[in-house]
C-alpha cells in the first residue's frame, strides 16, 4: 500500500467519523433554528430513539417497519418533551432553558441505563457488509451509506429552511418570538414542531451510527461534543455548514492524529478546537452562519 493510498484511506476514515458528527449536528442546527437554544439533551434523545428501534427489532419487528415507527415515536416524543419540560420555563432566561436540557440529559441517560442496562447492544446493520475498493482505498458501504443519508437529510432541511413557509415562520419565531406572535404566528406550535423535528433527525442519526458505534447509553455523549464543534464551525444556523463542519472536523482530527506525531491520537481533539477558534476569530458567525444584525 503506497503512502498516497494510506493517506486517502485515512481521509476516508475521517469522512466516516465526520459524517457521524454531522448527522447529530444537523439535529442541533435544526433545534437552534426553531427555538434559538442549544440542546444538550439532543444526543441523549437520539440515543433513546435508537433504543426504541432496537427494542422493536428485538421483539421481532422487521427493521423497515421499525424505522418509521421509531421516527414517528421520536417526533411525538420530541413534541411531548417540549410541551411538558420546556413550555413551563419558556418565559425564563435562555440559560434556564439550556440548564433544563442539561437536566434532561442526565435524566434520559440514567433512564436508558435503568431500562436497558449498560451492556453493549448490537444494532442491525442495514448497509451491506464489506465495501468497495477504489484504487486500493477501502470504502465501507456503511460509511457511504451514512454520508448518503446525511446528505439527504441536509438537503431536506435546506429546503425546509429556504422554500417552505413553515421554515420562514419558524425562523421568525426563533429570531423574535414576541413579534412573531403579534404577526399571528402560533409560537408554541412552532416550538413544538421544532422539538419534534429535531428529535426525528436525531433518531435518524442514532439509527445510522448505532451499528458503527455500538448501542449503549453513552453512545451519543462523545458524538455530542464533536457535533457541537461541527455546528460551531459551520455556523449554528446552517445545515450545509453543519455537514461541512462535521466532515472537516472528522478529517482534520483523523489526519493529525495519524500523521503528526507530536499531536498523536491523544491530543487530536485539540486540532479541531484550534481550527474552530481560528475560523471564528475571522468569522464570528461560523463558516456558513449568517451574521447577526446588531441591535443598537
Amino acid at each position: 500500500m503506497s503512502a498516497v493510498t494510506e493517506f486517502l484511506q485515512q481521509v476516508t476514515e475521517g469522512l466516516g467519523s465526520g459524517a457521524v458528527y454531522a448527522s447529530l449536528a444537523l439535529a442541533l442546527v435544526l433545534i437552534h433554528r426553531f427555538t434559538g437554544i442549544v440542546n444538550f439533551a439532543q444526543g441523549e434523545l437520539a440515543m433513546i430513539s435508537t433504543y426504541v428501534a432496537w427494542q422493536l427489532v428485538a421483539s421481532g419487528m422487521s427493521f423497515w417497519l421499525a424505522l418509521p415507527v421509531t421516527l414517528a415515536v421520536s417526533f411525538a416524543g420530541g413534541m411531548l418533551i417540549e410541551r411538558i419540560v420546556i413550555r413551563p420555563v419558556q418565559g425564563a432566561p435562555e440559560l434556564t432553558v439550556v440548564i433544563v436540557t442539561v437536566g434532561l440529559f442526565v435524566f434520559v441517560n440514567a433512564m436508558a441505563g435503568l431500562i436497558w442496562s449498560f451492556t453493549v447492544k448490537d444494532f442491525p446493520q442495514q448497509f451491506p457488509d464489506g465495501g468497495i475498493d477504489l484504487a486500493g482505498v477501502r470504502v465501507d458501504w456503511s460509511t457511504l451509506g451514512i454520508i448518503g443519508v446525511v446528505a439527504v437529510v441536509m438537503g431536506l432541511l435546506y429546503l425546509l429552511f429556504q422554500h417552505i413557509s413553515a421554515g420562514l415562520v419558524m425562523r421568525a419565531v426563533a429570531c423574535n418570538p414576541a413579534s412573531a406572535r403579534l404577526a399571528g404566528i402560533r409560537v408554541s406550535r412552532v416550538l413544538m414542531l421544532g422539538w419534534g423535528l429535531a428529535a426525528t433527525v436525531g433518531a435518524v442519526s442514532g439509527v445510522l451510527v448505532a451499528p458503527v458505534l455500538f448501542l449503549e447509553p453513552n453512545m451519543m455523549g462523545g458524538v455530542l461534543i464533536y457535533a457541537f464543534a461541527a455546528a460551531t464551525l459551520g455556523g449554528f444556523d446552517s445545515p450545509v455548514g453543519a455537514v461541512v463542519g462535521g466532515l472537516f472536523v472528522g478529517v482534520a482530527e483523523t489526519l493529525t492524529g495519524a500523521y503528526v506525531d507530536v499531536v498523536g491520537a491523544d491530543l487530536k481533539v485539540g486540532v479541531p478546537l484550534v481550527i474552530i477558534l481560528a475560523v471564528l476569530l475571522a468569522r464570528p458567525q461560523g463558516l456558513f452562519g449568517r451574521a447577526a444584525v446588531e441591535r443598537a
Binding site: P88, V89, L95, V106, A110, D266, A296
Partner: protein, 382 residues
C-alpha cells in the same frame, strides 16, 4: 432607590438589622464545625469551595453576560498548580494560593482576548472544547502532572496550637478564603469594573458610546472569573489531596454552570445556594432511588428550574410576588419601576423589573437577543 428604602424602614434600623444578620451568619459559620460530624464539616467545606468557583463564574455569566462552559478547566489549572507545587517543592500550602490565583488570572486574560470576538453561543462552545481538551493534555504532560495516575499530595494539616481536628482546620481555612473571595467579588461589582460590566451586558453599544472601554472590561471579567475558579481549584487540592485528569472532565464545567443557574445568576448569594445544590443533591438523589440516582438528579434539576426559573436565589422574591399578585394591586405602578438592583429578590418591588415573566403571561418566550444573555436585562443604580 428611595422607594425601596422607604418600605424597608429607616436607614438606622436597616443598619442594625444588617449588623445582626452578619453576626448571626458569622456565628453559625464558625460554630458549625463544632456541632457537625466530621464528614458533614467536609461537605460544608466542599460547598464553600464550589461557591468560590461559582462566584467567579457569576462575574462572567451573571454580570458579564458571557457564557463559559470551560470553567472546569480553570478550576483544574488551579488545582494542578497547587498539586504540582506541593509535589515538587517543599513549601507550605498557603504559598500555592497566590501562584494558583495569579496563574489562572493570566490564563483567563489570555482567553479573554479571543473571547472578545466570540458571542454567546460560540463562546460557550469554544470554551467547552477547551474543557474537553484539557484532560488529555494533562495526561500528556506526565513528567509534571503525574499523567493519568494523578498526583497525591499532603492535605492541609492543623497546626498543633489550634487544637482542631483536620476537618475543622480545613473548614476554617476554606471559610476564610471563601469569605475574602466573596467580599472581593462583591466589591469588584461595585467598583468601576462592575458598573462597566453591567452596562456592557445590558447594552453593549450604549455602554461603548458612553465611554466604557469594552475590550478592557470584557477581558478583565474573564481574567477575574478564571482567577476565582483557580482559587477554588487550589482549595480543592488542599482538601482532597489528590488530583487526576479525569476528575476535571467537561462534566465539571457543565456542573458548574448548572450549579450557578440553579443557584441564581447575577445574585450575590446564588453561588452559595448553587454550591449547596451541587454538593448535596446527588446524595439526596441516591437516597431517593438507589437504582438510578441520575434519574432523580436530572428530575430535580428540571424541577428546580420550573419552580425557580431565575434560580433558587430568586425564589423568595417570586413567592412574595405570587402572594402580592393575589392581593389588590395598589402598588401596581410602583411594581413596574425600572429601577432595581443587581440582585433580584428580597425587596418585592424589584422583582417586576427583574422577572418580567412573573407579570407577563407565563407562556411568553424570552426575547431572544442577538446574543444569549444569561439574565434578563437590568439596570444598575447605586
Amino acid at each position: 432607590m428611595s422607594t425601596i428604602v422607604a418600605t424597608l424602614g429607616t436607614d438606622r434600623s436597616r443598619r442594625l438589622r444588617a449588623a445582626l444578620t452578619v453576626l448571626l451568619a458569622a456565628a453559625l459559620a464558625v460554630g458549625a464545625p463544632f456541632y457537625f460530624a466530621p464528614f458533614q464539616v467536609f461537605q460544608l467545606t466542599m460547598v464553600l469551595l464550589y461557591a468560590v468557583a461559582l462566584a467567579g463564574l457569576n462575574l462572567l455569566v451573571g454580570f458579564g453576560g458571557q457564557i463559559s462552559l470551560g470553567h472546569g478547566a480553570f478550576f483544574a489549572a488551579g488545582a494542578y498548580t497547587a498539586a504540582v507545587m506541593l509535589d515538587r517543592y517543599d513549601i507550605g500550602h498557603l504559598a500555592t494560593l497566590p501562584v494558583a490565583a495569579a496563574g489562572c488570572f493570566l490564563l483567563g486574560l489570555g482567553f479573554g482576548v479571543p473571547a472578545l470576538r466570540l458571542r454567546g453561543l460560540y463562546l460557550a462552545l469554544v470554551t467547552l472544547a477547551f474543557a474537553v481538551f484539557l484532560p488529555p493534555l494533562l495526561k500528556r504532560l506526565e513528567p509534571v502532572t503525574g499523567g493519568s495516575m494523578g498526583l497525591t499530595v499532603d492535605k492541609l494539616q492543623p497546626p498543633a496550637w489550634s487544637g482542631l481536628a483536620e476537618d475543622q482546620w480545613m473548614y476554617f481555612v476554606v471559610l476564610a478564603v471563601t469569605a475574602v473571595a466573596l467580599l472581593l467579588a462583591r466589591n469588584l461589582l461595585r467598583s468601576r469594573v462592575g458598573r462597566a460590566l453591567l452596562a456592557v451586558r445590558d447594552n453593549e453599544s450604549a455602554a461603548e458610546v458612553m465611554g466604557v472601554r469594552l475590550a478592557l472590561h470584557k477581558t478583565l471579567a474573564f481574567a477575574w472569573s478564571a482567577m476565582f475558579a483557580g482559587v477554588a481549584g487550589c482549595l480543592y487540592t488542599w482538601v482532597i489531596g489528590f488530583v487526576s485528569p479525569d476528575s476535571f472532565s467537561f462534566v465539571l464545567s457543565i456542573t458548574l454552570l448548572a450549579g450557578l443557574v440553579v443557584g441564581g445568576l447575577a445574585s450575590l448569594y446564588g453561588p452559595l445556594l448553587g454550591a449547596a445544590f451541587v454538593m448535596y443533591v446527588p446524595s439526596v438523589s441516591q437516597d431517593v432511588s438507589e437504582a438510578a440516582p441520575g434519574v432523580v438528579f436530572g428530575l430535580l434539576i428540571i424541577a428546580v428550574m420550573f419552580v425557580a426559573p431565575t434560580g433558587l436565589a430568586g425564589l423568595p422574591g417570586r413567592v412574595r410576588a405570587a402572594v402580592a399578585d393575589r392581593l389588590p394591586r395598589t402598588t401596581a405602578g410602583l411594581d413596574r419601576t425600572p429601577e432595581t438592583e443587581s440582585a433580584p429578590d428580597t425587596e418585592p418591588e424589584s422583582r417586576a423589573a427583574s422577572e418580567p415573566s412573573a407579570t407577563v403571561t407565563p407562556a411568553d418566550p424570552a426575547v431572544v437577543d442577538a446574543e444569549p444573555v444569561g439574565a434578563p436585562p437590568r439596570t444598575e443604580k447605586e
